[in-house]
Symmetry: C2
């Protein structure tokens, strides 16, 4: 039994893998593989329609927003957001809460002026800056809602007077949000939505087409919105598996149900980190992420030993990112409470061994 705590691409439900494998042999009893069908076939058009409908239903997306399935991950959105929203010579505001937030700002700065309204780089991104002012002449304000590497998360949409853009790659679909609070939400799929290879964009239609830039069609959100995510050949299989995963989430009871589970999972693990004298969390208490739990031990020897124990217990993917060290348990939607318990048991076992 493996418990996959990997940071992404990450665990998806077993039943999704079963159906996803079957479709590679025979999709919808067509006698054809999902990998060899035309993206213009009725069967696949239905997949795109259902995937979009599931996103709209699960997140209660308002009608005046487009739901797009693109390629290139969040990294491509770092460039597409300013291409679409930042006029030549204009300014965009960014909150710097980690390496990815910082990369997003850096890419935007190639296309215009960027103002970093606040940064937590002074303490290795262990906290979320709470006090900052977004200039009213900014074309938009960008932030990263969950910082995968550091284990911090922003649950409330900041109140700002400019269009609000958020990178939700690692917490989309894990908790209820009010989509209307945002103007553009993007997320690489490979955490809670599906496998690598597809990117979700939810964008309010009326913010588009105002940057005055000449944008190649492939980078213009409007091309994709007009074509129902079929402007060019879409990543067929990644969208199909996302649909299966969204069906699973809906059958489970939707976002509210998974959010309750995620809260319990995170609390169970943080409680053990706070109780067990051999471990301590790295993120500021009030900014702790429900998706990525970062923690360390006192010495490199202990950490090496615990990593070995974890491996023996089938706990994989818990080594921390090099910029934080220690451990990072990514506990996305599909990771079960029993996997959390297996990790907690290993932590208790370590304590027993040395107390």
């Amino acid at each position: 039994m493996k418990h996959n705590f990997g940071a992404g691409p990450c665990i998806l439900p077993k039943e999704v893998f079963q159906e996803a494998a079957q479709a590679v042999i025979d999709f919808n009893n067509s006698g054809l593989s999902i990998l060899e069908i035309s993206h213009r076939s009725k069967d696949f058009e239905q997949v795109v329609i259902e995937t979009e409908a599931l996103v709209r239903e699960l997140l209660a997306v308002p009608a005046d927003y487009s739901v797009l399935f693109l390629q290139g991950g969040a990294s491509q959105q770092f460039a597409m957001v300013p291409m679409n929203l930042l006029p030549e010579g204009g300014k965009a505001a960014y909150l710097d809460t980690g390496v990815w937030a910082s990369k997003a700002a850096k890419e935007a700065s190639k296309l215009g002026n960027v103002e970093i309204v606040a940064s937590s780089s002074d303490k290795n991104y262990t906290y979320i800056p709470k006090v900052f002012t977004v200039p009213t002449d900014a074309a938009y304000f960008h932030y990263t809602s969950n910082n995968t590497i550091y284990g911090t998360e922003i649950f409330e949409a900041p109140k700002v007077n400019v269009p609000l853009v958020v990178d939700m790659s690692s917490d989309i679909l894990s908790r209820t949000i009010n989509v209307a609070d945002y103007d553009l939400i993007y997320a690489g799929a490979q955490k809670n939505m599906g496998p690598a290879g597809v990117t979700l964009v939810i964008v309010k239609n009326d913010i588009l087409g105002k940057s005055g830039r000449t944008i190649p069609a492939i980078f213009d959100y409007r091309s994709h919105a007009l074509a129902g995510s079929m402007y060019n050949t879409p990543p067929v299989y990644s969208i199909y598996v996302s649909m299966l995963n969204l069906r699973w989430l809906k059958a489970k009871g939707g976002i509210e149900v998974i959010e309750r589970e995620n809260i319990i999972k995170a609390r169970t693990l943080y409680d053990e980190i706070d109780r067990n004298p051999f471990f301590r969390g790295t993120a500021n208490l009030e900014d702790r992420s429900r998706m990525n739990v970062s923690f360390v031990m006192d010495t490199a020897e202990q950490e090496a030993e615990f990593l070995e124990l974890a491996k023996e217990r089938g706990l994989i993917g818990i080594k921390g990112h090099r910029s934080v060290g220690g451990f990072r348990a990514s506990i996305y939607n599909a990771l079960t409470l029993s996997s959390i318990n297996a990790l907690v048991d290993a932590m208790k076992e370590f304590e027993e061994r040395y107390k």
Copy 2:
């Protein structure tokens, strides 16, 4: 028994589908799905390394070229090529041999000046223009080697005195080429390389970094070359299935062997088109494609009836593109001669019925 003549995403070998399905359940006996593993895991890094090595071996790619696996298909390359190669205010030359060639030129024209050196739009792209002059001050010359919709193909690399860029989406890996004749080759994978979701780029390193433009990192070929196609999370599964397909091609004997088969397949079908009084080819004889065979009948009634007969015989995906009409049989690497024979048999059957 289905015979899949679809234009793409298209047929791949049955054994590739079997292995591809197995990996969705259990990849490399890891107990994990290929869909849930980290792209930074050793196992997946090995996949990228092997996929690149297979492309290099099969196409004999010179050492001073990078082999990249990107996202966004050929449509994204329509923008990335001028971003990387066309200086501000510079000029690029394009050959217009069809809708896709024309779209490539249109996207480039958003970033600079484009000169169309010749076009076959006067005869609905049924032929390849042979006489044209590429201006010596062009930053590059771009053409499309196989025109999927019209069934025409350019087998010889044009001799030009500027960097040569080719969209080989629908004939890459189907015939021997001399990579050194080109400076940049790109191809959406979903014909002869693998499933949708990954794009192959083969680029001569020393043509990069000269456009003088500030390019977002995700659109700069150098970012991907430096990072071994791991600048950002790659389309894991699409690359994996491409590797399986390239292994199949290598085991078969490589490009020379598949090229011989492709020549026989195309000749078998064209011979029947030319012999059978009910059918006629649409493309200029000397420009006929080996990948996409376009043909028509005399009346819409005949075409409807043949389409029905084809369906009964398990021949799918042969309806022609709306801009040509009639039929298009896409006969990529994985389509077998026995599928060609099944189509030829149906054509003979139709002839018997009405002669």
